[in-house]
């Protein structure tokens, strides 16, 4: 008969395996700590690289930005000058007709039996916000009842006058005495509108 006596205390109880439970626990903690250190080390290196790149980018930006600012200002000046030139081009050309051409055309189209007393040629605008009209207004005396009508036809046959004020119309015609008539003619065209 054999007798087995367990002399181990409860706390000294062991389990089967190559290493003890304590070693396993310490081992796993060490591995985790190692991985953590490695990861943080890599993160640190990455951070240092990022900061170095950032410093380099800041220096590069400071260097280039001052140069680029000058070029940007030059580009803005080019744009402003181009706009000014375009405005001046519109001002000098536009749909404007030379006034001496208008007065010469009126002179050549008015019949000899007419005497002008008032002539207005220009850009009329009642207020700043109102539209601009190219206007030709003539008034005076004529000999013969239909002289003013002839004058209207003559004025309308002039390409320069048509371009300036559109169609000229007889506004009024009134007998003064005998064959003398008082007349008024007017042509008006909205600036920028159809000719």
């Amino acid at each position: 008969m054999s007798l087995q006596v367990n002399l181990l205390k409860k706390t000294e109880r062991r389990y089967q395996g190559i290493v003890s439970m304590k070693v396993m626990a310490l081992g796993s903690v060490s591995v985790l700590a190692g991985i953590t250190i490695l990861v943080f080390l890599l993160a640190g290196i990455s951070r240092m690289t990022l900061n170095a790149n950032l410093d380099r980018a800041r220096r590069e930006f400071e260097r280039l930005d001052s140069l680029a600012k000058v070029v940007r200002n030059a580009q803005a000046a080019v744009d402003t000058n181009r706009k000014t030139l375009a405005d001046l081009e519109r001002w000098s050309k536009g749909d404007h007709v030379s006034m001496y051409v208008i007065l010469r055309a009126v002179q050549s189209e008015i019949p000899a039996q007419m005497a002008l007393e008032n002539l207005y040629a220009g850009m009329e605008q009642e207020t700043n916000a109102a539209p601009v009209y190219y206007t030709l207004r003539l008034s005076g005396r004529s000999q013969g009842e239909l002289t003013a009508v002839d004058a209207k036809r003559q004025l309308n046959s002039s390409a320069e006058l048509r371009r300036f004020c559109g169609e000229t119309k007889l506004v009024s015609s009134q007998r003064e005495a005998g064959e003398n008539w008082i007349f008024a003619l007017e042509g008006r065209r909205l600036a920028g509108g159809a000719k």
């Binding site: 990861v39 993160a43 951070r47 070029v71 000058n81 001046l88 000098s92 007065l103 002539l119």
Partner: protein, 196 residues
Amino acid sequence: MMNWAALTKKQQQMVIVTAVLAVLQILLMAHFLGWTKPASARGGSAKKELVKLTQQIDEADKILKREESIRDELNQSIEKLEAVTVYTPTLSDRYAWAYEYVSRCATQSRIELDNLEEAVLTDDSKKIADQPYEISVSTRCGYNSLVEFLNRLEKGNPLLRIKDVTVSSLPSQPQSHQVRIIMQWPAAVKVEKGTQ
């Protein structure tokens, strides 16, 4: 394999605590490294600043590559504008400038000027420099002289615009007319030269 039942209570607690700590550690590490955030939000302010700076450097590079052509364009636009500024009144002494020009044309057309005055500005919303410069000229002359005068005025200055002409007959002088001319120049021309 570990025999769980063979472990004492204390050992079982140790294994549980180790496992919990390991999981916590992994979670904290993942959070610290930003793996819990979306890819676009990772990297923090430094990375964002770097991305922004890189874009700005690229833009600066692009515009610097065009520097020569921009300089050429600027010089050309300055030359063109300076060539036309001689036809606009100088802002500091516009009346004298206009008077000299109109008077010279009048003399060449054998016309005597009665009056030359600046028009009153009516558009208060604009600065003086941004408004066309307008003057009114009064004279007495024959029709042919008037046409010649206008011809000289308009041909001698491409930026001068005759706004209107009013001609009235003078009963006492059949060969002469009372004439009023309103003429305009564009607002003062500003030449931008960029930062030198």
